[in-house]
Amino acid sequence: MTLDESSFANYFAWIKPTNKIDNPIEDLLSVIDVLEDDEASAEQLEATTRIIKKYENPEFLEIELESCKLKDSEKEKLLLEYVKKTLREIEGVLQAKGLNDFYKLCDMSSKFKYFKLRVFNEFKRTSFSALMENPEKNGIDVYLKNFFETHGNKSFQTTVWLTLFFKLLKTGRSRLKGRPSTLSRESGRILPWITSRWNRMTKPHYSVLSQSYSSSILLKNVKPITSYLLANLHMI
């Protein structure tokens, strides 16, 4: 699950370390500079000795790491509601692909290999991408399901109505030129065409992700998706 900055800031807050820690690589570079320099001054040598002693001190190893927390209990409730809603939507997508047995889904032999949930625009938008093996075609099916209204759906509707308009226009023009009426023939062709496209539009919309390999979660090692997501959220 990846969050953009606006979504993260909506629910989470960073806990910064109380003590500022020097960058160990910068210290290392300054030590190397002095060790390689035959003409290093006494001050530089003293500073290097201080750095070396600092790293020899075992207490220095006890450092605080930057972490994050949920802002308050109200946000926690909202987040859990969001998780439940998203899980239901994921379930719907997987069922549409014929994956309705949870144990088979998590099995090593399952065709469902990776999934990734991307949350952005202050938790208003979520997209679910998945990689599924396709042994029949010796390939990998890459799916993206957006859990929000997409521009792709709207533009597709526009395309449908524009095409319909031009088809009707063509029919009308042929009538004006005194040719035999093709309206009945055309309508016979157009209506099934509209119906098929309408059916396609109302079905869940899938599109191909060309480069969704990176940072996906390996599901093979994961038991149920629900518990996995919830566990991750509790970890956060």
Partner: protein
């Protein structure tokens, strides 16, 4: 929709070889260390030995906490010759400054090899009293390991 494997484009991995060594007696086994990154973003250092019999690579991957390696803004930059294409992974990060200045040698001292007269195997890297195949690069390239290296190789009194 189906997208067959041959049409899936994966971003090209950027490999920069810095260090090559030959081990072995009767047969030489090349050991190579490379800095690996994608689109100027550093991923880590890969050290591997090439198995001449199996024609395979076997080795260790050192992953990095890349923000530690980023150069400070406004740091003095080298003057480059004309027609030289700069590499973001070298320009924006301090890897080159550390790895080419005995960094690879320090890593090499922590690797665990098994050598016979005909064969060399790279088992991994010493990590927390075990031999591991992956390790954090900062655990290898730290002040203590560098100081130990200089103490042993150059007899420095530190």
């Amino acid at each position: 929709m189906v997208l067959s494997q041959e049409f899936i484009k994966v971003k090209l991995l950027f490999l920069l070889t810095f260090f090559i060594d030959d081990l072995g007696q009767n047969y030489k086994y090349p050991v190579t260390s490379v800095l690996v990154g994608v689109n100027g973003y550093a991923l880590g250092v890969k050290t591997y030995i090439y198995d001449l019999e199996q024609c395979t690579e076997k080795g260790v991957f050192f992953y990095v906490d890349s923000h530690l390696w980023k150069k400070k803004e406004g740091a003095a930059e080298k003057k480059l010759k004309k027609n030289v294409v700069t590499l973001p992974m070298l320009e924006k990060y301090n890897f080159e400054n550390v790895l080419t200045r005995k960094g690879f040698e320090v890593i090499d001292r922590h690797l665990v090899y098994e050598q016979t007269s005909n064969r060399v195997d790279l088992h991994g890297v010493n990590s927390l009293r075990t031999v591991a195949q992956t390790e954090l690069l900062e655990n290898m390239l730290n002040v203590q390991n560098f100081v130990n290296y200089y103490r042993e190789t150059q007899d420095l009194d530190l």
